[in-house]
């Protein structure tokens, strides 16, 4: 059985700049795996490559055995990607946006309805879904987009900073949604620079900085290994060693 994600010696360069430098990791089914690191560490670039949005420069990456570069069309059917600080089409209502995205994922009407119904349940926006997206707060937009990301029940959800810029309540709601979906069988690959949040949410984490992965493990393993109280301390001791 192939892994949900398998990344081997992946690198991505923009001219002379190496945004991602020879990283390797894998994600199991049902697992919530997090890439944690500061801004500019290479988290988003890695997720964009796995979401088939960017090409890779060296190495390989596959999703459930499908090569992200050579079999991108097939990969797009089994993943769903939530970019960092993404928006929705402002002139559409929330419900129209969900219907539009559902129609891109399935030709069958009943499937589309199923997706939209699921998204309505997850986002919890109720009657506000009839309003134009441009009238939504940041938290409402993020919930709508998260619901859109997971409504198709992708085999892998790729979430880039899913709670970035949200207040405590909205962030908590989104964390609960992610945990629920994972328990229902969805693999989740996410990124965050909020290391404390990730400690409570993910099964395993990879600590990334300046394009390189420094260590991978469960939060408990890493804390024990580096005699740290939390992942922030792990990160500090790892990056200061370099």
């Amino acid at each position: 059985m192939p892994k949900a994600v398998e990344v081997k010696n992946l690198s991505k360069s923009y001219g002379n700049i190496k945004a991602v430098d020879d990283i390797s990791f894998d994600v199991d089914e049902n697992e919530i795996f997090a890439l944690i690191g500061p801004n500019g560490a290479g988290k988003s670039t890695t997720l964009r490559i796995l979401a088939t949005v960017l090409s890779l420069s060296e190495g390989s990456a596959s999703i459930y055995g499908l090569d992200v570069q050579k079999e991108a069309d097939k990969v797009r059917h089994i993943i769903s990607y939530l970019p960092e600080e993404a928006g929705a089409y402002k002139t559409l209502s929330g419900i129209s946006y969900l219907k539009f995205m559902a129609a891109l994922f399935s030709d069958e009407r009943h499937k589309q309805k199923e997706y939209v119904d699921m998204a309505i349940g997850i986002c919890g926006l109720g009657e506000r879904l009839k309003d134009k997206v441009k009238t939504y707060s940041k938290g409402m937009t993020r919930k709508l987009l998260l619901a859109r990301t997971v409504m198709t029940r992708p085999r892998l959800a790729i979430l880039d900073e899913p709670t970035s810029g949200l207040d405590v309540i909205n962030a908590l709601e989104i964390r609960n949604i992610v945990r629920d979906l994972s328990s229902q069988g969805m693999a989740v690959l996410l990124s965050s620079h909020n290391m404390l949040e990730i400690e409570f949410l993910s099964h395993r984490v990879a600590i990334i900085d300046k394009g390189k992965i420094h260590d991978i493990g469960t939060a408990e393993q890493l804390k024990e290994e580096y005699s740290a109280k939390n992942l922030e301390e792990v990160f500090m001791s790892l990056t200061q060693k370099m």
Binding site: Y81, L82, F100
Partner: protein
Amino acid sequence: MRKFFILLKKEVQELLTPQMLVPLLAVVVVFIFVGKIIGSETSKAKVPQAIEVLDLDNSATSQAVIEIIKKTNFAPNVSQSGSAEQIVTSAKSKNEKVALIIPKGFEAGVNNLQPQKVEVYTIMKNFSVMASVNSQILKAALAAINDGLSNRLLAKANPKINPIAIKQPVLENDFVIIGEKQANVSPAAVAGFITSQTTLIPIILFLVIVLASQLIATSIASEKENKTLETLLSSPVSRKAVVASKLMAAGLVALLTAGVYLFGMRYYMAGITGGAIGGGGATDAATQEAIAKLGLTLTTPNYLLLGLSLFLGILAALAIAIILGSFAEDAKAAQGVVAPLMVLVLIPYIFTMFLDVSSLSQGMKIFIWLIPFSHPFMATPNLLLGQVADVWYGILYLAFFFVVFVFIAAKIFASDKIFTLRLSFKKKKPI
């Protein structure tokens, strides 16, 4: 194909916003309103205009002059006594715009071959075309009077000769040759007719290209700005469908916009010309017959070729705009990045409107031909002149241009370039 239509519907919805539709409709309403006002003013000018005439001579000749004035759409209020001041005051009080004084001794002077001066007072309240139109008509009436009186005097002096032969010993008989065809008509009449029939095509083409280019560039830039493009490109939808839906939506919305503008402009122009766009309806039967004889009419295959040329011109512009739009990071920048395209459209628009491209130097001709948008602008005159091969070359060049640029656009969308292309003129400062 199904996903293409889903994307197309979304693109059209994104473009047809109230912010876009309301100003568009407002412009059309203004066009119609102004057209109606000008139309009513023009109609007013068509009814016989009252003028004050002071006939101090009260002779058969002065009566004949007044009769000619009546025939040129004036309603003269004639009086036989008074002064210039009185007649002008009277005209002002009646809101009349012209007053005419025929001096005493007019008939005797004319008969003694002494040129006579009639005084024409034009009361100007503004400097518009309408303000001076009456005195212009009166000038034409006086020219007719001069002609009539001089004929009479010449006939009186020598009844044996034809006055016209004295005044115009040389007459012009115009022939226009187009290709192998020839007609007895003046070149000015032909040029006037053709211009009246073809004025709107370049205007519409220019409008559509400018609008469509801005729409598509803004659409891509907005998607990049809102990061909706990343979501879209990670979805199970082909990049070609994304590019094609954007092209089609921008083209459709631009056509709709141009159609609405055209509708408004027709009202506006109809107001100015009194019903006939560009004065085309005013062409006399002889000119129409000569035009037909010269083959200066578009046949159905001609119209199809013209349509194909215009359509490919718009598509070529959209293909360039989609690439230029990829360089814009936000909607604001999108307006700027399409500027080179505007210049490429403006050059042939001006050249084909004011110059005869065929008489330009070889270098300039090649320059004009290399610009793809020159071809739809030149298509109508080329078709009218029977140069169908030139139109076909233009169509083939446009098709080639379109295919190449769509290929480049699809490559950009299929690669990282769509996210990494930027226009930056700033040099990185050393740290």
